[in-house]
Amino acid sequence: MKTVKTTYDRRSFLKASLLSGGGMLLSIGSLSGFKSDDIFNSDDPQKGWNELNGFVKITADNVIKIMSPNPEGGQGVKTSMPMIVAEELDVDFSKIIIEQADLNTKHFTRQFIGGSQAIHQGWQPLRMAGATARHMLREAAAKTWNVPFEEVSTGSGVLYHKKSGKSATYGEMATAAVQMPVPKEVKLKDIKDFRIIGKSQHNVDLKKIVSGQPLFGIDTRKEGMMIAMIIHPPAFGLKFKSIANGSAVSKMKGVADIFPVKIYNEGYERTFFDTATFNEVVAVVGKTTWEVIQAKKALKIEWEPFESYTQPRNMLGRKQMENVPGGLEDSTQHTAVLAERLSQPATVRRKDGDVEAAFKGAAKVIERVYNAPFLAHNCMEPMNFFAHVTNEKAELSGPLQKPEFTEQALSARLGMPLEKIDIQMTRLGGGFGRRSYAHWLIEAALISQKVKAPVKLIYTREDDMTSGIYRSTYTARYRAALDANNQLIGFHVKAGGAPESPLYPNRFPAGAVDNYLAEDFTVDSNITVGSYRAPRSNFMAAAEQSFLDEVAETAGKDPIAFRLELLKRAKEKPVGKNNDYEPERFANVLNLVREKADWDNLKTSKKLGFSAYFCHDSYAAHVLDLEMKDDSVLINKVWCAIDCGIVINPDAAKNMAEGGIVDAVGAAMYGKMTFTKGVPDADNFHNFRMIRHNEAPKQIEVHFVENDIDPSGMGEPAYPPVYGALANALYKATGKRFYNQPFNDYII
């Protein structure tokens, strides 16, 4: 048994940051003072909850509740995170209550959605929470029965002393258990003894979802609540000037108030997630949604162009001035500037060997350029938030991904200490990165403060789709050098974007090629961007995996065998430092999908495309089978192999992979947001094409690599490689390579 040291701040046991991973025994740091700590011993007599820790609460009559710390946006954490706690607590998963925790930075750490990290980083703390509570229950039983601790066992929420035949439910011991000291060490289960982890459990909100219960932020209804909407400038590059007919419109039926709202104060140092495309918007407040929509339509607002400016930004500790250029931008101009920058010097991010020499001496050189447009997130639930702000406190509730960061921004904006701000998290009708940038929460709070009433702010689909925070537009130029034996001797990627670079310099094939160069650049833009499902990987995987397919073809090699050759090289004689993937795990998913899709046999008879990618600590490989039917693409099947370590909830993980594949096919085929004189060319689903039922792959088969490695993310890793598999299969079916997204624009 290995010992894992953990560090604690005494008030927040579960903010444990592990110094080293793995192991079955956890030792817990200095515990003096734990006993008097409210988190561990706050017995709420009103509800009768005995809180064993921030995650586990048990009543004397044996109601067991597990708190789910992170926001739920469809990735299944509200089920999978409590599963991990329940496993170590040793209870029957179907008999417990699961509740969404509010934002509580004292109890929990990393209460946010992003980067597919909830399970990866929550794994040890969640296990520890369950194991510690179980330990304290056993201590309580041992003391009550006056028997040695080691002799007290548990099974499905019951404590046993076999020798004496005594038994008690957790509930019966819960009141005594909270009086027990928090253990210095706890034993965790052996993986082979898992009874809950690895067995599919239904989504805990399933029944509520299918019967239409109010789970989402947009469903919030409170006494005296008003409806608010905003109007933002119609084009990037414009700002608010004045309201022309405010007094006339405020007389319309059901309208209460119309006023401008400034989201962040001048000079405020915005942090990473404080992106508000339009810092001043006009609020319309009224009684009902339809009335507010009518008022919104009737309002005449004057907008004006702004000059270029800079604003202070603290990007996760890196302080910088952000350039916001003035002017009304066009997509044609973005494409032209990005193309021009590809032929100019860029910033070197990684260099191994001598790339130029390799290209000079090469037998064959292949060079290709890939492009992708901006993308709107289009969560099905439009942005919204409830706020009730008074002089004493601010109560907020709704869907958001980064409550901890947003709370700080709101505190700064309202000049109100954090203790007076309460943010409750509702289920998210999709996040995909968009709800990390919660300017709408601040808008809701400021509107409530101004009208002195509880308000629910709702964006229309048009407000949502045209308010920026898109996936960037990107470009990448790849070059590969092959020697006379068709060995890859040089690899060069130059990537850039407006306004963000997509490059990951240490990803495959870095580490597998002697001469490797990765460079990047950015182009300023006033069109704002934000994280979008598998940020940057969603483009790099598309470009790189399409390119490698073409390189393999030029080398006369099978695309899977070609990559396996490179991975072998990366494993046996890695080039350079900081390669961010493990070649062996990577090769495993390639081999698994090759076998499951019967690649070697079917590749000649069917139009198969292959692609694989590593991101968010997980590995994914796909084989996609399609055919063309009267100029439209029919995807027959996708085989998918994933290594995300231990799979917590297999059917839910499968659902995530299926969804990621469908979503990525949609974005690759149809997704685009373009601009004309700063105005977004799409504003609703009639002109932003989303994938629909009939366009989804007919069949998806998901296979997981079985191993005992600590779990990693599932929300994103299946998504990026889909683009490449689709492009490569399209090539087989049409004879054309697809360098530009969305592919559907280039099919005929």
Binding site: N203, L206, W290, G429, G659, I661, H693, N694, Q699
Partner: protein, 151 residues
């Protein structure tokens, strides 16, 4: 403003609203039934699907004045306790991810099965293509519809 007597989920209710108000907002704001979702407001996404005398319609573009005597059914009224065969199939297949589109999907699917108890894949595609799911649960929806059809 005008008074409308509506039959919603077997109950008679009356509302006093502007005749142009879409049924979606009557349900959500005036009646307090929030299971029917707002997604686009222009009959493009299906999130707001309800039944009007058993047929699926998009409530976001349906003015309350057009209802007359037709009976409205929303997701809350599809069955008691989520026991409609389509809801049961949705549970069996664990269809939802974020869940936001699912009320609309279920209302479209249940209306399809009512008029066509054994739909082919093509008929399912045709009936369901008005309902967008950004989470990409289309395959499970298709399987769930087939399961419901087999019961």
């Amino acid at each position: 403003m005008a008074k409308f007597n509506l039959k919603i989920n077997q109950k008679n209710l009356s509302v006093d609203v502007d005749p142009s108000t879409p049924v979606l907002w009557v349900l959500r704001d005036h009646i307090g039934l929030t299971g029917t979702k707002f997604g686009c407001g222009m009959a493009q996404c299906g999130a707001c699907t309800i039944h009007l005398d058993g047929n699926a319609v998009r409530s976001c573009v349906l003015p309350v004045s057009a209802i007359g005597k037709q009976a409205i059914t929303t997701i809350e009224g599809l069955s008691a306790n989520g026991t409609h065969p389509v809801q049961k199939a949705w549970i069996e297949h664990d269809v939802p991810q974020c869940g936001y589109c699912q009320a609309g999907q279920i209302m479209s699917a249940s209306s399809l099965l009512k008029s066509n108890p054994k739909p082919t894949d093509e008929e399912i595609d045709a009936a369901m293509s008005g309902n967008i799911c950004r989470c990409g649960t289309y395959l499970r929806i298709r399987e769930a519809i087939k399961t419901a059809a087999s019961k």
